[in-house]
């Protein structure tokens, strides 16, 4: 088991253990690879030295300090760990679909580090995923940025503590279907979606004022002020208005994207990223000017009406218009080959290698507010790295090893087949899942739909 690996590694002096309060940090020397830095060009026959989880040196003829393992990467390619800006892997709950605004709900509360999907993502080179609330609500819950430190049962070990707060918004068919048609509450139309957001922000402004008034009044001698009701929900909206939280908004149609851009401008919100945004290309100049860009599918379309008029050239058009563009999966299946999804931008739009690779590394890092820490191979950044046997943008490439904070969590040659962290003691026959449900944005809302199959089927 992985535990044995840790034990051996401890013997070898690579001290790491999840028992300690700190997360494991490793040291390793990767030699003689073609290093795709993404931000500083491609370096041939180059070494990368990692110490205590940080990229210490990128250069040639580096030697390993004592106790540090060397990995011979001759003929292989090294790139930064892949970042998936839209995922639901590792969450026990995806949608608290009972109210159109649930900003008080936190995905950090329901992280499940034992989901085998995390390991499978590692096997596809993904080191960080943005574990998001689902798209059932207009203003959903706060998301969790996860580092794929596989093998622990403690959720805190995989939550990236130094990542900024983000929150999920959703526009269009999903929230109107869940609340308007499913429950008879606003919104049931795109008009209602805008109203819910504006109302929420305006109420938050009143909430902020009520508390500010109370705080100053109660400091006075002999005051008779009573505290207003406390609401984590509105406090979170206040935090958004104060620029403390990045909005990631699930959206498809050009008009609703444009609507939210205007709402954001009205409330002075600049930390806004659009997710999926299949029609983002139709308002690419606006997205580029007023937001932190778009995180899109490579080629999903037509499974709902709002994505019927999309194009696989979406990422290329957004990128060409200078919007920060990333490619995401929103799927436990796609997350395993995001490098292939990014490569599709070379077929649909002729992106260069660095442009395509940026879409799964530095660009999503910027959208998650962690680009100072990860997203490229530069000295000083966290050592999230992936080794491929051939160029990552070739369709035939096979990931070989994946490192998070310098610790190797995936090795195609050494890893066991069965990676489950725990097994039920009463399991007689293992469950077999046929044609797995891959899009999980609407998980936990099935009870509202009789034709649930249609909504979820990606075929």
């Amino acid at each position: 088991m992985k535990k044995i690996n840790y034990f051996l590694a401890a013997l070898l002096g690579l001290s790491f253990s999840f028992a300690s309060a700190q997360t494991p940090k490793g040291s390793v020397l990767i030699k003689n690879a073609t290093v795709l830095t993404v931000t500083k060009g491609t370096l041939q026959n180059t070494d990368v030295l990692v110490q205590d989880g940080i990229i210490k040196k990128v250069g040639t003829n580096l030697s390993a300090p004592s106790g540090v393992q060397t990995v011979d990467a001759t003929g292989k390619y090294l790139m930064p760990g892949i970042i998936d800006a839209h995922s639901h892997v590792g969450l026990d709950v995806v949608n608290e679909a009972t109210s159109p605004i649930t900003s008080e709900v936190q995905m950090k509360d329901v992280v499940n580090p034992t989901e085998v999907g995390i390991y499978r993502a590692l096997a596809g080179g993904v080191t960080i995923s943005h574990a998001m609330h689902g798209s059932a609500n207009v203003i959903g819950g706060q998301n969790a940025t996860l580092k794929h430190r596989w093998g622990t049962k403690n959720p805190n070990d995989i939550i990236m503590m130094d990542a900024p707060r983000t929150i999920k918004f959703a526009l269009g068919e999903n929230p109107t279907r869940v609340h308007g048609r499913g429950n008879g509450i606003q919104p049931s139309s795109r008009m209602g979606v805008e109203a819910v957001i504006r109302n929420g922000f305006n109420e938050a402004i009143q909430y902020k004022k009520a508390w500010a008034d109370y705080n100053s009044a109660s400091a006075q001698k002999g005051n008779t002020a009573t505290a207003p009701k406390y609401s984590e929900r509105f406090q979170t909206l206040v935090d958004i208005l104060d620029g403390k939280i990045i909005i990631h908004c699930h959206s498809y149609r050009a008009d609703e994207i444009y609507m939210l851009i205007n709402v954001a401008r009205d409330f002075n919100i600049t930390k806004l990223v659009f997710q999926h945004t299949n029609e983002g290309f139709k308002v690419a100049p606006e997205i580029a000017k007023y937001t932190m860009g778009a995180s899109v599918f490579a080629d999903w379309w037509a499974y709902k009406f709002e994505v019927y008029y999309s194009t696989a050239f979406n990422a290329a058009i957004l990128n060409a218009n200078d919007a920060i563009t990333s490619i995401n999966s929103d799927s436990a299946e796609l997350i395993r080959h995001l490098y292939h999804e990014a490569a599709k931008t070379q077929r649909y739009g002729g992106m260069t290698d660095d442009e395509a690779l940026a879409m799964i590394t530095i660009n999503p890092a910027r959208q998650l507010g962690i680009s100072e820490l990860v997203g490229s191979i530069e000295e000083g950044k966290q050592a999230d790295l992936v080794i491929f046997d051939t160029h990552p943008l070739s369709v035939y490439t096979v990931p070989q090893m994946t490192f998070v904070d310098g610790v190797k969590y995936f090795d195609i040659k050494e890893d066991k087949n069965d990676q489950r962290l725990s097994v039920s003691p009463t399991e007689m026959v293992e469950d077999i899942y046929l044609r797995q449900q891959t899009e999980r944005c609407m998980q936990d809302t099935e009870h509202l739909f009789d034709m649930a199959g249609n909504l979820f089927n990606q075929n």
């Binding site: 499978r120 096997a123 596809g124 068919e173 290309f281 139709k282 690419a284 606006e286 000017k289 080629d299 999903w300 379309w301 037509a302 499974y303 709902k304 009406f305 019927y308 194009t311 050239f313 290329a316 058009i317 990128n319 060409a320 218009n321 200078d322 299946e333 395993r336 490569a343 599709k344 070379q346 077929r347 649909y348 739009g349 002729g350 442009e355 943008l393 369709v395 035939y396 490439t397 096979v398 087949n417 069965d418 007689m428 026959v429 293992e430 469950d431 077999i432 899942y433 046929l434 044609r435 797995q436 449900q437 891959t438 998980q443 099935e446 034709m451 249609n454 909504l455 990606q458 075929n459």
Partner: protein, 433 residues
């Protein structure tokens, strides 16, 4: 803006072949038949090796000639120097044309009411004008098997070329009656039935299947003697399987179900094609022994079990081929059938090998469907289903720049491309407020 200009020019260059077709701004380019000479390419025949500096002559919908130097004789000449000619790819399992927007039930036509409906014809329900068809064929997939799904015998699948304005124009000469073999797996993460319920449902399905089959055999024998039988369209269709007029396409995935299916089919004298076969690698030797060909996929799919190795679906095809099974690859997609080359590439990279992977999307399905005299390779006398690409069409970097289906030169445009053309540099652009 530098990026924009660079991409814009790259895009213009990509449009050059279309410009060569004398495009007038706004004119709609139609599929054209005629005589075409594809000059001086590397021809990957699939069955007869790779030929360099070779030309291919297309006329009357057929591959007329393959050779080093062929006289044009009035054919439209297309210079393919530095390019690669492959046979059009065949996707052995899709619902292409049978659904438009999955979440809008009115547009979904691959499933009908009833457990026993083999007489439902996929072919006639195909929408030849589905938006997904032009989206698909620019990737080099020229032919697909479109398959009904749902109950025990959901309908009759049909092989179609992705060109034509009526289903009959698209029909590529093969049909099969589909059987969804009773399965013991869960339908997805949301299937929360208990183990007992699943087992019971499985047993009931098998019981139904046995009853229906017995009746079908009896029906078929009576029919052969000319007996006066009551109108029973479902039995009529199934009788065609029993009389071996049509093969039986058996959808089955879990290992124990595959074993059950092999046993069930053993004494039955029908032509069988297995489809799905997600856990085929677990029982590869038994499948090989049965001699049944296998259509498997999607390759880019999650493992069926939590305890499975992460790359199990990628390695599935390769393991079965190694055991001696004839393998074809499918996407089981509706609107993203265009990803077939990538599914095949994954199977190739994870054990199947490039050569076998190419066969799995060309000659293998052609042979399995009994149409290898017409499709599946670049050979003289076959139907002109050809693609011309800048490189290996499995690679994302490669561009497919010419597609021929049934000898028609297909315009490489679809809504995705048109939207790209309209919005790459939007006019008006950003309004300055």
């Amino acid at each position: 803006m530098k990026r924009l200009t660079k991409t814009f020019f790259a895009f213009l260059i990509a449009l050059v072949p279309m410009m060569a077709m004398a495009q007038i701004d706004g004119e709609f380019i139609k599929p054209r038949t005629g005589k075409f000479l594809l000059k001086n390419a590397t021809v990957v025949t699939i069955t007869k090796g790779v030929l360099t500096n070779t030309s291919v002559l297309v006329a009357d919908g057929m591959i007329m000639e393959i050779g080093a130097s062929i006289a044009a004789n009035g054919a439209e000449e297309i210079d393919c120097t530095g390019l690669f000619i492959y046979p059009g790819m065949i996707d052995s399992g899709t619902q292409l044309g049978l659904a438009e927007v999955s979440s809008v039930a009115e547009t979904v036509d691959f499933s009908e009411v009833g457990n026993f409906t083999p007489n439902m014809q996929a072919l006639t329900a195909v929408n030849p004008n589905s938006e997904a068809i032009p989206v698909t064929r620019v990737s080099g997939v020229t032919t697909v098997l479109t398959v009904p799904s749902g109950g025990l015998f959901p309908g009759t699948a049909a092989l179609i070329n992705l060109n034509g304005y009526t289903p009959d124009q698209m029909y590529a000469g093969f049909k099969a009656v589909v059987m969804t073999f009773p399965n013991s797996g869960r339908r997805g993460r949301y299937d929360r039935r208990s183990d007992d319920d699943i087992k019971k449902a499985n047993e009931k399905s098998l019981k139904d299947a046995n009853e229906i089959w017995e009746n079908a055999i009896a029906y078929n024998s009576m029919k052969k003697t000319g007996a006066a039988l009551e109108f029973y369209p479902e039995m009529d269709q199934l009788a065609k399987v029993i009389s071996k007029e049509l093969p039986l396409l058996v959808q089955v995935d879990a290992a124990s179900d595959i074993q059950n299916a092999l046993k069930w089919l053993e004494e039955k004298d029908v032509n069988v094609i297995l489809s799905g076969v997600a856990e085929g690698w677990r029982v590869a030797d038994e499948i090989a022994k049965s001699g049944y060909p296998v259509i498997t996929g999607p390759v880019q799919e999650l493992p069926t079990r939590e305890s499975d190795r992460y790359d199990t679906p990628y390695t599935n095809a390769g393991k079965m081929a190694k055991a001696g099974v004839k393998v074809a690859i499918r996407t089981d997609e509706i609107e993203n059938v265009r990803n077939l080359p990538f599914h095949a590439a994954y199977a190739a990279a994870y054990g199947l090998g490039k050569e076998e992977a190419w066969k799995a999307v060309t000659i293998n399905p052609a042979e399995i469907f009994g149409v290898a005299d017409k499709y599946g390779s670049v050979e003289k006398g076959k139907v002109a289903n050809l693609i011309v690409a800048t490189g290996d069409p499995f690679e994302t970097r490669a561009q497919v720049i010419h597609v021929f289906i049934d000898g028609y030169r297909i315009p490489l445009s679809n809504r995705h491309i048109r939207l790209y053309q309209e919005f790459l540099e939007r006019s008006p652009g950003l309004e300055s407020k």
